[in-house]
Amino acid sequence: MNRFPAVCALAVLALAGAVAACGRKSPVAPSEAGAAAGAASPLTASVGAPRPLAPAAGAQIRNADQPVTLIATNGFSTKPGAVYTFEVATDAAFATKVQTKENVQESGSGKTSVQLGALAAARDYYWHVRSTAGGTTGVFSQTFKFTIGPAVSLGAPSPIAPLNGSQTGARPTLRVGNVSRSGPAGALTYVFEVATSSAFTTVVASATVPEGAAETGFELPADLPANTTFFWRAAASDASSGVAGPPSAAQSFTTSLAIDLARVVYLRGPNLSTWKQTGRIIAIDQDGSAAANGYMCISFTDPGWPGAKWIYGGDDPNFEIFANQWYFANINGIWYAGAGEWLYRGGGTCKAGQGTRTIGPDSGFGEPFTSWVPRVGELVGYAVTASARALPQMATVQERTDVVLYPWHDTSIQPFHGQTVIEFAR
């Protein structure tokens, strides 16, 4: 009996069995089969490296902008489920790695990112990224360098004025002492905020101003409502490092004697509430005594207002005036105002004849200003405008200074015991 055919048949069956077994080269345990189904493949994937996107090569990052987020444009792979490895080092050769983020799942957005932990300030860093998919670990991408800027810290400004409980005008100047700082801070700016509550939930005015020499101030650009309590604070910031310091302690002030230009009764001259403020009062020097001729000096920054041809005759047909002094009196709770003395270039900013008993009657403003006799210490408002007393014949531009409040002085009634000239700090 020839057994060769039977042996061959068995060989064929064995071959078939072997082929069946060959279908899976990496057998898995039954308990693992479900999880591995469709995933366990001995053919590894081909992968292409991701590309670094941000921070861009050479990026300068402020220390305050940490944590840094690394963003890479996705690479590609022939099998799904890529994970990324980000490495950050302090040298280009990655000998000193400071952070490694592994197994970062590839994002479906086309860009995969990871947030780093805090990095030491004032250092250069290098980063690259690679992907792993389907059992293949790709090569690292090109390396990008970025720099974390120096650490800067700022203190809180110290309020100078107005301090808690102060009485102010409509546009007080907020002043703080400059902040302490550490680190290589750049040019500082200060953010001033004025609010109706100490919580600063409703900010009615704010501004960012550059740091002054020893102190920094901010003059409100518009009148605040009269007889209202406000709170203010300031904080310094360094744009170059992105560091913002803590705010100053909040201070309150009340605009109890503020002049609301829209509510002033203008007895002579135009309504100034619509005139643009282009100048500001620098100092007031005034004495209502007859012995001093009732001088009234209102110095101000001259914006260069144009001259208006003098229409009242005189020796010089080319004579021009360019400004008028203004006086504001609070009579029975209402502010009355009018354009007063003429100012011409070369003639200075002091005028005579504004005595305690003459400023009213000589004003020509009409009642009740004509009967007004300021008391010593009474707050009187002062301003200077472009030509405003003989409109429209002598009209030029509708511009003015701010309006300041200054206590009335009369050395014949009460001698000065202190500063006679008030300079308005800015």
Partner: protein
């Protein structure tokens, strides 16, 4: 793999049943039959990709109607869709860096296997149809070439940030099954021509490769 086992089992059962029923059957032609044969085969493949193949087959008569055969050969390119898709992913990724990257893919396969051939009788005709089924192993080579501007960059892909996996490089061995049929046309006393079609399915790990082999052969019985 269940399909492979099923085909083999059916073939084996069919062969065994036929062998038992015809152990005493004499060939209708009454011609003496040589028990062994060897043949050379060649032809075209079609399926996932058209190509050519060549091979050698040998066997012997287990029963008057059933041959046991072994075969070996080479398919020039059995590339399936899977390698095309994977290669195109890489080429597209490379094109983002260097426009104009193209890819050429081939999967040459060397196969070896065996099985059973069942001869059908056509009265007194000398032509002899047959059906066959079998199994074996194939070694498949992943031959992928990336060209940028006509220059082969396959060897420098790491410079482009690309690492090829075994899905696009190297080679692998996988089992295969084969089934088909054909017609043997004897001429002379010992020689014959063969026309055959064989469906070969290679169980590649990610995606099976199908090669339809249609070919001609010349053989000798001895």
């Amino acid at each position: 793999m269940k399909h492979a086992l099923t085909v083999i089992a059916i073939s084996t059962a069919l062969a065994a049943g036929t062998a038992q029923a015809q152990t005493t059957t004499v060939p209708p032609t009454g011609e003496p039959r040589a028990g062994r044969y060897v043949a050379g085969l060649g032809g075209w493949t079609f399926g996932d990709k058209g190509s050519q193949f060549f091979g050698v087959e040998g066997g012997f008569a287990w029963t008057p109607d059933l041959d046991v055969f072994v075969e070996g050969g080479r398919v020039r390119d059995a590339a399936g869709q899977g390698i095309h898709d994977a290669a195109n992913i890489v080429a597209t990724g490379l094109a983002r860096i260097q426009p104009g990257v193209i890819v050429e893919t081939r999967q040459p396969a060397v196969f070896f296997g065996g099985g059973l051939r069942y001869r059908l009788r056509l009265g007194h005709s000398r032509a002899e149809p047959f059906l066959l089924g079998g199994a074996g192993f194939s070694r498949v080579e992943q031959d992928v070439t990336f060209l940028a501007g006509g220059t082969d960059i396959t060897g420098t892909l790491d410079q482009w940030g690309v690492v090829l996996g075994t899905d696009l490089s190297g080679s692998f061995t996988a089992g295969h099954i084969v089934a088909g049929g054909g017609l043997v046309m004897p001429f002379g006393r010992q020689t014959f021509l063969e026309v055959s079609y064989r469906l070969m399915r290679i169980f590649a790990e990610d995606e099976g490769i199908t090669a339809n082999r249609g070919g001609l052969g010349f053989g000798i019985r001895f």
